[in-house]
Homo-oligomer: 398 residues x 2
Amino acid sequence: MLTRRVLLFIRAKEVFMLPAQRMASVQPSYIRNILKATQGNNVMSLAGGLPDERLFPTRLLDNAARELDQNIEVYQYGLTRGLPALVEHLCAENNLPSDEQLLITTGSQQGLDLICRAYLNPDDRVLAEAPVYLGALQAFQLAQAKVGLIDATSKGPDLDQLEAKLAKGCVKFFYAVPDFHNPTGTCWSKATRIAVAELLDRYEVALIEDVPYRQLRYSGEHLPLVSSLMKGDFFLLNSFSKIATSGMRLGCVQATKKLLQPLITIKQASDLHTALPMQQMLLSLLQAPEFEGHIASLRHHYGQRAQALANALISQIGGRLTFNEVEGGMFLWARINCVNAVSLAQECLKNDLAVVPGQAFWPEGKAGYQAIRLNFTRLAPADLEKAVGRLSSAMSAL
Amino acid sequence: MLTRRVLLFIRAKEVFMLPAQRMASVQPSYIRNILKATQGNNVMSLAGGLPDERLFPTRLLDNAARELDQNIEVYQYGLTRGLPALVEHLCAENNLPSDEQLLITTGSQQGLDLICRAYLNPDDRVLAEAPVYLGALQAFQLAQAKVGLIDATSKGPDLDQLEAKLAKGCVKFFYAVPDFHNPTGTCWSKATRIAVAELLDRYEVALIEDVPYRQLRYSGEHLPLVSSLMKGDFFLLNSFSKIATSGMRLGCVQATKKLLQPLITIKQASDLHTALPMQQMLLSLLQAPEFEGHIASLRHHYGQRAQALANALISQIGGRLTFNEVEGGMFLWARINCVNAVSLAQECLKNDLAVVPGQAFWPEGKAGYQAIRLNFTRLAPADLEKAVGRLSSAMSAL
């Protein structure tokens, strides 16, 4: 009798408590999977996309935290859209005609997840540049969308491929990171921006423009948002993780009132609203006269590091890898010759160095394509040189 | 030519940018819909589920905010599961054998949403007591689940109905708020708890036990968690909104490591993790020696208010409505005679009083059933009496 109960129990578990179908297609994050391995004391990490906590605006954060007691209402439930004063500030900063065109989210990742949940049915088609930001891939996979890939070039997505895929029809979104793409570091040229905007308008496909790194430009000229060149629908995703701090989890989505409404409905059912004390602290930061100087300082330091990493790669590794120098962002994408990138990443871990093999940025890998993504914002220039030494040793050992 | 472009554009909008199918079944929140109407200066609200901000632990919150500068790492990206020190604290408090049995969420609402996304396929069956907490209904609707309703009695769900629905098979979850149910205020009897646990084990159906009000007991004896009486699978959802503060948006989910894993995968793709400075501040609060006294003070004040509301209803309205007194929580559920509850709620708004008509807590209303939900935690006893005066006037005007 007991045995029968146990057997029934096991059967029931198998039948009923399996995860939902949407879970089947979600790719685990290589970076988060190796996070524990990278937390050892001696491990140097070029793997994550972390800002340097030594460059956090600590004095401004302390002030913001101390000022919370002047705004006791931030501890109460609030509006799903966000803290009214922050929404207003951001709308003014972005010249939005109405507060109803912006939604505060728990990081820009939530903004993307909300767009997917609000608009994607299973098997809907989405296009993205490949290699793709892994968090975007996960959000599309959770929504059971079909992701069509457009090869990245040094100037942005391959326009012929993009047009061919758009011409096939039934595409719901094109997802793009035009400013200092993750993982490639590429900044789209102005001509590419104009051409993509024109193509999306022509084929009446909405753009999801994700710009977490836009304010981190170290050289070259500021270029227009792709969405600003469009006549048609778009969502613009912004993050405060790179310029303020990432642990606070704050981002925002801009779109027309009509396009945003379903996102607000879902956000209400999924977490009511984003933490208000965090929103109040961000507002304090953004309003502080010193904040512009803080961003300038980030640009200065991160720009130096991008250069230091590039120099170290050239001097210590030379012809064994190739890369394009970057004008901003957090990553350098290095193509490697004669070595398998996954084996290299494993060999690096043995040398107390974490890097991400390029294969992690394709839904099913990319045969014959060997690259690694290197983050340069977390370590100081001298440490970046040391890290490249470990990379060089790992390459030699293979 | 322009006309053709415009027409094509409109057609494309209609075909492609319609919200996803899952949006079709999500019920808007009555409370959030009337939130703006209740923000006028003269409006008294018994409609929301808000704690009283005058009873927030302000000194503890100020200390917690000031101490953030000692934990600069909370501004960096962190683990999806939650701030390790908070996870550890909560696991110890709840006698969990492993840190892997708990996940910190952006309010318990997110915990419920993650469970739904992780385990529910469209058309899966979920059972819940009716009337139902609206936020739960929204999460189930977003997951396109079929919600089967079990009538609530004064001791908990109708056990015969529950067994009949379980016996039909293919039920994935039973969702329950056994401690001071929202909206009815009911606390399940011990016998009901034992019976429900036994039924769920017998039919091998997992429980989602949602206990946001469990620590707000004003009279009567503490009863065991239903999940603690079970042998089978369960998720236990906890919220810190009622005992700490709601604007911080913090909750947690307890379950076995295996059951939690898909939730962590989805949380990673949906917001990476919950704001770490909020988690650190909650930990400060929970560790403060004064925090237990703060909860005792909440119980004292809210208990007085529950009594004040009950007294005022009896003395000012008498036989025109009936209700069961409550032993805890935030709500009193009043059945009304001879008056339509939706009309009454509208009439109340004209009298600067917000209440929620009971119909809002059924997916499709409940014919012939007239009730209103009254919150008693936000207003002081004298104001509750005044509010009941307005309710009485509204009833008389109909």
